[in-house]
Point group: C3
Chain length 332, copies 3
């Protein structure tokens, strides 16, 4: 059903809600398109006119300066007009329903909503109620999905490591509550990664985690053995209160990524983090700022990946876009 | 005095503060100009260059995401730069006076302030103190006026019902505290509506309401009899606390617009609401989403009407504007 | 060290952090460039394309609607894209460090950060950690410096009074805590003002104030005697609580600028204030709105001065800028 939602009848990307169910070809097409936007960020004049006269609405029901900023910059580089809406503080507090808020915005002839919401399924709910001219990008919904983050992550892996078929990847941290992990696992599996491991204390692993096609580890040293890519997750400090982990010091002692632990991975392994980092909690500064860290390239790539997704959804067809390398269009 | 304030010596619209005292010709000119902007919202590239290089300041002393957004979109479609200022949280809290805030903004050579304020008269006060190059649009001042809302309402009525002379219109809800109702009544009377009714419990009707040239009803069934247009108002939940109405359930039972009550109006009557709606309080979802509802077209029209008012005030003269149908210019 | 920080190896302005150590020639070059931007604010279309395709980030760790607005307007008139970030409410509260926030923004290929922070040295700290393509403007750091404010102040003085060598200037108010005063004193001394006086109760004067090359006065009447320029400071009401001054009434009685006190200065003396004003506390309304006040021209000039600094830092070299008068480039 989601796949029907994400593509139109010609198989063109219509919404971007989840990685789940996306074909390898679709993911690669997005990565190829993103490649063509990397150069825009390096020009003197960082603008292309693909979305001129379109309105992108950052519809954030949950605060996130960083994610909002990346979408705002991406949209402005595509020459769109951007409207920032932090909704918790206004309409919803006036008692209007989520769908009424959305219907109002679409009645203003806005074209693209970037939605962040604390409830899983919010972006899907919206996407299944908007008319054909309105497109939705999920910028994080509860513990469900954060698909643009996963796309920039696999983009970054590909640009440093090439083919996925040979790669062992470890995702470390609060797998249970992480929308980022969920989307990363789906993307890595769709791209055919050799092995995806998840490393966490048992209290932070979903039950029946193997169904996600991952190999679970509770011992970090063993989990990192020989991997090519380490993807750290941000630890939500709120989890402490829930007694799911004993204390910050104890967590760092057991699951913090230190230079010693990093040494268990392949010598050329890369280290990733979606940010914002808790230095000294899930990651040691020596690693975060070390030579194997690709944390800042992730941010740079995030702009290009978001531009690509917006352009694929809302821009003119790829045939008439000189800047974009032509990928293949997938039907799901 | 207001009329002197709203027009310059050549009779051109200078500020847009209230409907009160506007001639039928002026209102029709604005509606005709708005008509010419409807098509902009339907284009691929939703931009016209009429306000390029001008700065529009959304000066909101009272929060309203929705109204701010409509003005922001309208201004950006006219190619203006937009500055959003939510003032309660900053300068005013630093003890600066309202007029000092305004004088500072005008010294920055900004051209148009869209003002929302919780005090009646705020927009007038500002308009009477700004230099000739600065223009004010009232986006709602206390319980006094909300003239752009009323303009988009009569625009919507005209586009669905044509001539006003034959129309019976009912406004339902908290007439006493509603700036929207006040402006709607003035617009409808200026346009020569056959009959304007107001329907509310006696506690929510102004004393001597007949002076507004309306026919008051407390019985909703009788008030809706045979009308062409039903304009619902939003009920402020704060009124409950003031004991002006007994309870939400009781209010809906007596004054909520249900399909049964709607059936008292003409079969082709249209239903309007300025939003945000309280579903199940002043309006039943079956009506809000029903075939007679024009609530979402109101929102769409709101962009065109606000573009028209901004363009008339700040754009090049209509003679040189190819897009705009030429109306007649009124002197008050 | 700061000077090394503010200029690149060709002596071109790279960051604008403090007036301290700037040469007279550099300051005059900025003033001359600002002169060339004054006309932009008077045009029908207030836009020049110097920063098209660049991203300016207003990075405000301390709220200031007014200062943020002036930078936002200046950047938009230069055709830059502007991202507004009020950080206290988001990332920092998520525990990210200041430098991580900055590194993330620079990884997005943004070019210019306008930084306001409550801690002295924040802008310097950031400037000393950014890569060559990123530029910093200090929009106020703790009690340390507010250099763009001082630049617009000396611009305003020059446009009303001409040569600095003949001018006696008095700065009145809380010298001890004022970043504005600190930067003003440095600018006036660099430009060779004949005499810079500071007038304040002893509790609001730094110890060894003479080292700043100013003449201190505690008696306002004597301090204003024969001066050409009076620069009032805003009194932070918080100081009351600290018992540094007795009461608002008492402060105004002794240090408020009244018409009677103003009469002690030269008859053509000008009165300045950085805003927002506390009318009736540090300044009488009769003076603030009187014929000698240049408080609103300061605001107007502030846009041109900020455009000039942004253009010098980030725009194409002056040689290819037709609009800008060519100044001389200083090495510090």
């Amino acid at each position: 059903m989601t796949q029907g939602l994400q593509f139109d009848s010609q198989g063109r990307l219509k919404h971007f809600l989840t990685i789940e169910g996306l074909s390898r070809r679709t993911i690669l097409e997005i990565l190829d398109t993103a490649e063509s936007f990397i150069s825009v960020g390096q020009r003197e004049i960082k603008k292309v006119p693909l979305l001129r006269g379109k309105t992108v609405v950052n519809l954030f029901f949950e605060a996130s300066t960083r994610t909002r900023t990346t979408f705002e910059i991406a949209a402005k580089r595509l020459s769109a007009d951007v409207i920032n809406l932090a909704i918790s503080t206004s309409s919803t507090s006036k008692g209007e329903t989520l769908l009424d808020t959305v219907r109002n915005l679409e009645a203003m002839h806005t074209e693209l909503f970037v939605v962040r919401h604390s409830l899983a399924g919010a972006a899907h709910l919206i996407a299944s109620h908007v008319p054909p001219h309105v497109h939705i990008i999920n910028a994080g919904d509860g513990a469900h999905a954060h698909p643009t983050q996963a796309m920039l992550d696999v983009f970054t892996i590909r640009s440093h490591k090439g083919e996925f078929e040979k790669l062992k990847v470890a995702i470390v941290g609060d797998i249970l509550h992480s929308r980022v992990a969920r989307s990363q696992i789906q993307a890595l599996n769709a791209l055919g990664a050799a092995e995806v491991r998840v490393i966490a204390p048992k209290t932070l692993l979903p039950t029946a985690v193997e169904r996600l096609r991952v190999v679970p580890y509770s011992d970090m040293r063993r989990g990192l053995e020989d991997v090519d890519v380490i993807m750290m997750l941000r630890l939500q400090r709120e989890r402490m209160r829930g007694a799911l982990i004993p204390s910050e010091q104890e967590y760092f002692r057991v699951y913090g990524l230190t230079p010693e632990r990093l040494a268990r991975a392949k010598p050329d392994a890369i280290v990733m983090h979606p940010g914002p980092m808790n230095r000294g909690l899930e990651i040691d500064s020596a690693v975060a700022d070390g030579s194997q860290s690709v944390i800042l390239p992730q941010v740079t790539n995030g702009i290009a990946v978001r531009m690509a997704i917006m352009a694929l959804i809302l821009g003119p067809p790829a045939e008439v876009r000189p800047a974009a390398r032509r990928g293949t269009r997938a039907t799901a």
